[in-house]
Structures are given as structure tokens and as C-alpha cells.
Symmetry: C2
Subunit: 593 residues, 2 copies
């Protein structure tokens, strides 16, 4: 089956769950146009269903090939990409001054969910380009920006991010690729990089590689890393393409999933040195990378939401169609669709509610990033910046964790058919598996949350979030609506668990950092579950009062209730893992021999 | 890396966690020889490491092929199988009267774990043969047993189980393959079957298919199903092979994993009818299947334990080798193996402790099956039968659920390398994915647990189990040993949660079966977690007092503590999902449109 973008769910999540309309009403979302958003995502959904979804399976089966340094993408891929770029999808949130459409990042995030859901291997390419655009726009010289940004924004050239080397994965500071300054002010790069997404392909004329390297005599570790722009083809003064640069794909990986997305080993400087241009300052490459990290990590979270929704849609359709057994209490011959069985229903509700919670966290992160740039007063911008920083690891790790869980449930709903590749459900499992790893493993996200984000400003960003969530819970409680079941009480308890776990961590970060680190992963899950549950509740409450969503209100109350009573109830257990698990981890070496 | 059977862990689990030694001391395990067990599993481990593990990857990459009805297994497969069978591994728990070795099923279970860990696609074939042996031994006529059992026990012929048809998966009663009685007392079968494991292969001369079919005029549903023995080659009076029978593999599936295990579509009767022989009575085929169901389901659980342990071993080795970053609090240059990072340690402890808990549940199930046949008095046999029935769905579903979780964690520990097929970690994810589905999906297991096993004899088997587990917790509490941390308190709470959830379910099974069904999956997890935690504690306590395991005692106490403080703490949340989740599931149709 194809993919249908859940437009109403998306708008409800964006406008109410993520709080965009409230921010717009407060004047912080310059001339936000809800109708425009609806039109844009509807068109994106149509393009995705018509052009991208049909290529998802062929991409998986055919994969990519490498010959003589040239990567060939699957049949139909290059054509679809060019049509997509020509329609203007690449630059929808890029500055209008460089040819973009200047729409909010939050709207771009929905489009990214749509591309990922339809065809995650395809959708990954522009995410890398987005990262290159952001780094270049923030740190590139005027000359580099003028020459490269319009092509990147238009999508006529794509971008890559080149950090990883065999000995430098999570530990970026260990990288060895070296750069030497030339008399003309350019640099020559030598070394090799691995795991470079879309490091080569045949969809565009040129590729703009952003490469981290080390200058002679640079300090060890992350303080001695510099960012360079290294084009596949050099660009002449007049903007035409010049010589082939000395950076080539020398290998591609055979992966569990994402078969249509080339993952390249790149060789730089085998023939005299790859020509590179400095971005930002020498030895300040990590700062340039940090600029784009929130958005890049959010985008991976969005990929998780997309593939989870795709898996859900397919499982739901299967469960409505496939007949096995009889509903309990129903007599007579024949059989019923398996969706009548409570255990199947439970799996589908897990899938849908986890996806909805992750979506709302991701969109809320996007809104916070938007506000951090665009809000009318500095105080709101600063608070939004802190909120975005806090939510980013949740958006990345929670969404991709649940993407794997949801994809696995999707296979389960299909029974034996789920294990057969032709069904398609298994591809989501394979594709989703990388999401918890790249752009910082989810363990790294949890550590970032606890050690950097939670502790920043003594927990101010967290307190601000908890205040907001507590207000939502108060509204659920005040509604006195039996349809919410135990939602109010469960979410109230969950916020209490977050508060206690956070206080414990804030103390341990200082006094016993290894204890704080041991609890990082369950803490991220705890905070995500509480946040997701509360934001879902805000959606459900708002749907009743907004004509655009009133028909969906009952369904969203049920979804919120299911999430609370079946998932948010885990809050205390997670709290105990955070605050009580450290000893059992840090002193357990005898159990790991 | 290769696989090393964890012999000491296995013996500790079998002798103490699963309670074999106590049963033997009480006289119920006829002349049990612990040294013999140790020697057998050591030799199995050697064979697995030398012959089976090296074929695991080539099997995955090469897969199987079908041409003209003949399935070809991967290179080396047939030779390895024959060597394995010649060494007598196939019949180690089969009756000596048919050429088996008559060892306990519990010892056979350990061997099955070893084959599965080394090469799960290979190990699956003899599991099917075991099922055929069991059904035939229990229900076959003297003539059929004499003719077929010696070959099946020796492994010179293999067995299949043919239930599934396109419209008859979980709903076996919907099958349509028909059988017609012939004047000579044999039958002719017509129809087709799907998802038939090792339905054809080139490892043995003959294959003994056990096929469920329907006789003319048989009652609808499961009451009208009959079991037949349908050999690939007919067998002459003198035991020599005769004509090719009219049952052929007409297709093989392209699957997510288990590539080396052929999953066949079988066509019966395209050329006049497949010759079949009645097993048991007409229309009593389901009863014959039930005979072997406990053991077959246990074997799938054992597969889960095996693959989980394999994934753990590989992840542990990687984490000990791969260097990234510096341990917190350690200064200077250089980097440490990633196992120093608490979050990595946590993942490895999750893997090991979940595997150990599942292993102990599986071995305890095997011991209960052994006792149900072999205990010296009828009362013990009856109690063991009820215990085996109760534990079987836990052994199957919990072990295979955690196998998927453990395999996924294994990829995570490998970081980006985990997504690359060459690493091998991803194969475990792919292979494990079927385990929660075949031999009754884990949803079916949960339903079986709640609707059949829990309710049997008004919960007597459960009470008996809880009494035993409570005694273990009392010993942990009485030990007053700080090394156990909160283990005693957490497990005590978990047993309380089981008790309350069970009482609620026992009432709902009668008054509101759909409510009971909605809570079945979290209940199975709850009971498994409580049972696994307590049995791990029994191992840890016993290790201190048994010279054979004293060196492992400290490690097992740590493992038990980790399991309790990080996993068993979820008991109350699971209880709430059981008792509070039904409304949010059974009235949630508006959230699933």
C-alpha cells in the first residue's frame, strides 16, 4: 500500500501539541499562515504518495552500486529527485535571499516527516543538504555563501557532512584527516572518511562536502578541528563547474537497511590533495558543527516519526483486512478482521500513540528552534533556545527508539507475512535500525540531556518545561471528563517522577558523574514519556475547541488515555532505574566477564 | 567471532535456577548424572564452535535455492548436518528403544540452545524433527513407529510440521487441505501449505512430513482436522525407499532473516494425491498437535535464548575492544574501551541479565516437562505437568521478546558498525524477528497463558509457582546481604503485583473476557519478569554454596541485582497495564480509523 500523509494529525500536533498557534497569537510567529501550511503539507503528501512511495521498495531491492568512484542510485531515483527539487521542496525553510521560501522550520519538519515516511532512503539526502546550508549560512564567508548557497538551497547540488573516521566515531576529536594551507588561501585535504551518507550519487551535477580535518600543529581532540567546504567539482569564477576535485567515493557499505542511500568511504587527496575552503575559523570546526546539531538531530527524530507512521498505516490496513478467528462473544461461522482482537488492538494503539507522542515532541522542538530565531523579544528567544536545546535529545532519541519499537510491532501485527520481505513491513525494521545510531547514538543523546542540557542554568529550562506541562495536567484534571480515565492522575505522577529524578541527577552530575551517566538513558525515556503524554493531552483538549479538529477530538482523547494508562504508567519504574540503578551498573564488572 | 557455549552459566541455571538438582535429590530424576551433563554440553559446545558457527554467515549470505522442486542448502550445510547426526546429537533425549540416548529433555534443551546460538537456521531443522518424533511416538501406530521413528531419531530422515495455509495461520481450524481414504487404509492428500520449515532440502535421503488435513464431511474448525504422515519418498516393506510421493516444494520465501532455513510452499496431490498415513484418530489431529506443543514452544523459546546469548557475546567482545573516548574521571591522552562508559555497561547488563532470566525460565520448563513424565509419584507428575503448561507460554514469548530486544541492543553497542552486515550483529536482529511469530505468535502465547493456563484448576498452578518464588525471596531477604541491594524488596513487590493482576484476571476471564484479553501481553511480561528475577536469585544464592559455581557467585549476585533494580521494578507499571488498560483498549475504536 502507499503512504497517506496524516494531514489532520500533523496540523493538530503542530498547532496545539507543539504550541505553534499560541506562539503565533502572542506575536512571535511573524505572519504565520495556517492555510498556507495546510496547503503546503497537502501538496507534499501528494508528491510523496505519487512519486516517492512507489520508489521505496525498488530502492530497497536494487540498492546502490559503485564503479570507478561513481555511485549509481536506483532506477527512477535521479528523476524523482530532480522533479522534487524543481518543485522547490528543498529550500522551503531556507532564507528567501538565497532562493528559499522562508517558511517556518516547523513546516519544513512536517515535510521532512512526509518524505521520510514515503521513502526514508530518499528523504535522507536533503537532510544532509539542510545541514550544509545551515553551517554555511552561519559560518561561511560571503564568497562561499554566494557561490554555493543558491545551489544548495535550490537542491541542484546536495551536501554531505564528513566527520567519521574508523577510529573517530562518537569520539569525533580522534579524527586524523589533515589539511594544509596553500599560498592562495585555500587548503589541501588528505585522509579518508567512512559512513558518508550520499557521499556520491548521480542525482545532481555537483556535491558540496563539508569535511572536518586537522591542521598541522592543531591541539589534540575537538579543540583542533577545522571545518572545510570541499566541492566534488571545483567551481569557476563564473559559477560554471571546473575540474574534478580529489575527493572520491572509494567504497560503499552493505547495510541492514536504507539500501538506496549510499553510505560511502571517501578518499581525500590520493592525487595531490582535495581542494578545500575554510568555513568559520581554524580550529573552531566543532563550534560550526554545533550550530547545526539541534536541527540535524531533530531531523533524525523526524525520520523516526515518519517511518513509525508508515509502519502503523500498513499494520492498521492489514489488521482491517486480514481475517483470522472470531471476535470473543460473537457466534456463528466465519472469521473477523484481526483488529477485533484486543491484543492486536493493543499493538496498534501502542504504535499510534507512541508515534503521535514522538511527533508532538519533534514538532515542539521545531517550534522552539523557530522561536529561538524569530520571536519578537530577546527573553522569549533565549527561553526558546534553551527549550530547543533541552528537547533536541528527546526528539532524536525517543522518536528513533519508538520508531524501532513501532516497526517491530508492525511486523508482529502481520504475523508470518511480516517476516516475508515482499510484505514491506520488514523493510521498516531494517531501515529504522540506523536511526538510533547516527547523528549521535541515543546513548550520546541521553548523556547530552543529562550532562549538558539538564544542568544548564541549574535546571531552568527543565523547570520551565515542567511548569508548562503541569498546566496541561491541571486542565485535564479540571475537565473532570471520564473519557480521560486516569490520564490526569498518571501524568501528574509522571511529572513528580521527573522532578525527583531530575533533582537526583542535578546533584549527582557534580558529586558522582558516573552515577548520573548510568541513569541517563532511563531518564531520557522518563522525560520523553511525561512530555509526550502531556503534549498529547494538550492536543486532545484543544481539538474539542477548534473547529478544524473537532471531529478528531474523541479519538485523540482515547489516544491520550491509552498512552497515559499503558505507557506513562512506567514513569515510577523509570525513576527507580535512574536513581537506584547506578550501583548495580557501575559496580557490576564481575557480571561482565 | 565464534560462539563459546557458556557452560558454567548453563549448568548453574539448570541445576539451581531451574531446580534440577533439587528434583534429582528428591528422587524424581532417575539416576541423573551431573558429570555426564557437563561432558555432553561441553562436547556440544565444541561441535557448535567448530562446525556450525562458521557456517552461520555463509548461510545468511548464500541462502537456499529452489529448482524443479529441489531445495539446495548453503555450501557445507549437508555435510555438517550428516556429521552432526552421525555423532548422535539428534536423538539425545529420544527413547533408547528407538535408538535415542534417553537423556533428560532438559539436557537436550541446553544442546538446542547451543545449536541455535551457533547457527539458528541450522538448529531449526532438528527442532522440527523433534516435533515429528514426539507426535509419532505418542500417537502413531506400531507399524508407523517401527518404520519411521528409528530414522527420525537417528536424524537420517528429518521431519516437518505442516499446519499453515494462506487463510489458516493462527486460526488453524480454517485449513482446507483435504484427505481421502483409500481402500488399502492409506489416504490421498490434496492441497497446499505455506511457511513449511525445511519442507525440502538436500541433507537427508527422506523427509517425513506431518500434515494436518480435513476428511470429507469433517466438522468445521479444529474439531474436523486429522493428522497424517506423508513421506517425501514412500518406504517399502523392507525399509528401502520407494517412489517419490506427490508432495513437493513449489516455492520458497524471501525472508528478513533465517535465510539458510528453507521456508517452503508445499503442493500436495498435483499428480493424483500425496500418499498419507493416519496418525492418531480421524478428526483428532489437534489433540495430536497439542501433545507436542509444549515442547515445540519451549524449543522456540530456547532459540531465543541462544540467539540472545550469541548477540551478547559479540557485543561484549566488541565493547572490550573498541576504543572511543575516555572514562569519566580519567585524565591524560588516549582512549578507553567503550565498556568503561556506564551507558554501554548498562546495555550489556540488560543483554546478559535478560538472557539469563529467559534461560532459567526455559530450563525450568524443560525440567517440569521431564518431571511430568518421569517423577516417581503421580502427584509430583501432575504438579509438574501443570507447571510445564503454565511456564510454556512464558518460555516461548518472554524468551523471544527479549531475544529481539537483546539483538537490537547488540547492534546499538556496535554503533555504526552494527548496521553494516559484515559485522554480523545485524543478522541476529533479522534472524530473531521470526521467533515472536512462529509456533503461535506471542500474542497467542499471552492469550493461552491467561485464558487456559492461569484459569486451569482455579489458578492452582500459579499459586504453586508463587509459593515457590516467595520462598526464594524470603531467602534473599534473610541473607541480609547488601550485595543484593534492593533485590528482595523489589521481587517481593513484583510477586504482589503478580498476585493482584492474577486475581483481577481470574475474575475477568469469566465476567469480561475481552478485558482479560486486553491485559494478556503485559501480564505475560509481568509474570515472566517476576519469575525470571526470582529464579536468578535462586541461582545466585545457590552459587555461593556449590563448589562448582562459587567463583561465579559474586557475578551472579550482581546480575540478579541489576535485573531486579532495572527490570523487575517495572512490575507495578505492568500490573496497571493489565488491570487498568482494558477500557483504553476495548473502547478505543475511534482512535484506530
Amino acid at each position: 500500500m502507499t503512504y497517506r500523509a496524516p494531514l489532520i494529525d500533523m496540523l493538530l500536533s503542530l498547532h496545539h501539541g507543539a504550541g505553534l498557534l499560541a506562539a503565533a497569537e502572542a506575536g512571535h510567529y511573524n505572519d504565520y499562515d495556517a492555510d498556507m501550511t495546510a496547503a503546503v503539507i497537502e501538496e507534499a503528501g501528494r508528491f510523496a504518495a505519487d512519486r516517492l512511495a512507489p520508489l521505496n521498495r525498488v530502492g530497497d531491492q536494487t540498492g546502490v552500486t559503485l564503479a570507478d568512484g561513481h555511485v549509481t542510485t536506483p532506477p527512477g531515483w535521479a528523476d524523482a529527485y530532480r522533479t522534487w527539487a524543481e518543485a522547490g521542496w528543498n529550500g522551503i525553510s531556507s532564507p528567501e535571499s538565497f532562493g528559499g521560501q522562508g517558511l517556518p522550520l516547523a513546516v519544513h519538519a512536517i515535510c521532512n516527516e512526509i518524505w521520510s515516511a514515503a521513502n526514508i532512503s530518499f528523504g535522507l539526502c536533503p537532510l544532509l543538504t539542510s545541514g550544509a546550508i545551515e553551517a554555511l549560512a552561519a559560518h561561511g564567508s560571503e564568497a562561499l555563501r554566494t557561490r554555493y548557497l543558491p545551489h544548495l538551497v535550490a537542491g541542484t547540488w546536495t551536501g554531505t557532512m564528513q566527520l567519521t573516521e574508523p577510529q573517530a566515531g562518537s569520539d569525533v576529536g580522534a579524527l586524523r584527516t589533515r589539511a594544509e594551507k596553500q599560498p592562495d588561501g585555500s587548503y589541501r585535504l588528505f585522509g579518508s572518511k567512512i559512513f558518508i551518507t550520499y557521499g556520491d550519487h548521480d542525482m545532481t551535477e555537483n556535491i558540496v562536502h563539508l569535511v572536518l580535518a586537522r591542521l598541522p600543529g592543531a591541539p589534540a581532540g575537538t579543540r583542533g578541528i577545522t571545518l572545510f567546504l570541499v566541492p566534488k567539482f571545483l567551481v569557476n569564477e563564473d559559477g560554471s563547474l571546473g575540474a574534478r576535485n580529489d575527493i572520491v567515493a572509494s567504497g560503499i557499505e552493505h547495510k541492514l537497511g536504507m539500501h538506496a542511500s549510499p553510505t560511502c568511504t571517501m578518499s581525500l587527496g590520493d592525487h595531490g590533495g582535495a581542494v578545500g575552503y575554510l568555513i568559520g575559523e581554524e580550529n573552531k570546526g566543532m563550534a560550526c558543527m554545533f550550530t547545526m546539531m539541534n536541527q540535524a538531530r531533530l531531523n533524525v527524530g523526524i525520520e523516526g516519526v515518519g517511518i513509525a507512521d508508515r509502519a502503523f498505516q500498513q499494520a492498521l490496513a492489514y489488521a482491517q483486512e486480514r481475517k483470522q478467528g472470531r471476535a470473543v462473544g460473537k457466534g456463528g461461522e466465519g472469521s473477523d478482521p484481526i483488529i477485533v482482537h484486543p491484543d492486536v488492538k493493543r499493538n496498534l494503539l501502542l504504535m499510534r500513540s507512541m508515534t503521535a507522542a514522538a511527533r508532538t515532541i519533534c514538532y515542539a522542538t521545531a517550534v522552539a528552534i523557530d522561536l529561538s530565531h524569530g520571536a519578537v523579544d530577546e527573553k522569549v528567544r533565549a527561553a526558546a533556545h534553551a527549550r530547543a536545546a533541552l528537547l533536541t535529545p528527546l526528539a532524536k532519541a525517543f522518536s528513533t527508539d519508538i520508531a524501532n519499537e513501532v516497526a517491530a510491532l508492525g511486523v508482529q501485527v502481520h504475523g508470518g507475512m511480516g517476516f516475508i520481505e515482499e510484505t514491506g513491513a520488514a523493510q521498516y525494521v531494517r531501515d529504522a535500525r540506523i536511526l538510533t545510531i547516527y547523528e549521535g547514538t541515543n546513548g550520546i543523546q541521553s548523556i547530552d540531556l543529562v550532562m549538558r542540557k539538564l544542568g544548564a542554568d541549574k535546571g531552568a529550562a527543565l523547570r520551565d518545561l515542567l511548569d508548562e506541562l503541569s498546566g496541561i495536567v491541571a486542565k485535564v484534571e479540571a475537565s473532570n471528563d471520564p473519557a480521560f480515565g486516569a490520564t490526569g492522575a498518571v501524568l501528574r505522577e509522571a511529572l513528580g517522577a521527573v522532578t525527583r529524578a531530575s533533582e537526583w541527577l542535578l546533584e549527582k552530575i557534580v558529586s558522582a558523574p558516573n552515577d548520573a551517566l548510568a541513569g541517563a538513558t532511563p531518564y531520557l525515556r522518563l522525560l520523553s514519556t511525561a512530555t509526550g503524554g502531556c503534549l498529547l493531552a494538550r492536543e486532545a483538549l484543544a481539538a474539542r475547541d477548534d473547529d478544524a479538529f473537532r471531529d478528531q477530538a474523541a479519538g485523540h482523547v482515547l489516544l491520550t488515555r491509552f498512552f497515559a494508562e499503558n505507557l506513562a504508567v512506567q514513569a515510577q519504574a523509570l525513576e527507580r532505574s535512574v536513581t537506584g540503578g547506578a550501583d548495580s551498573i557501575n559496580n557490576a564488572d564481575a557480571a561482565l566477564t
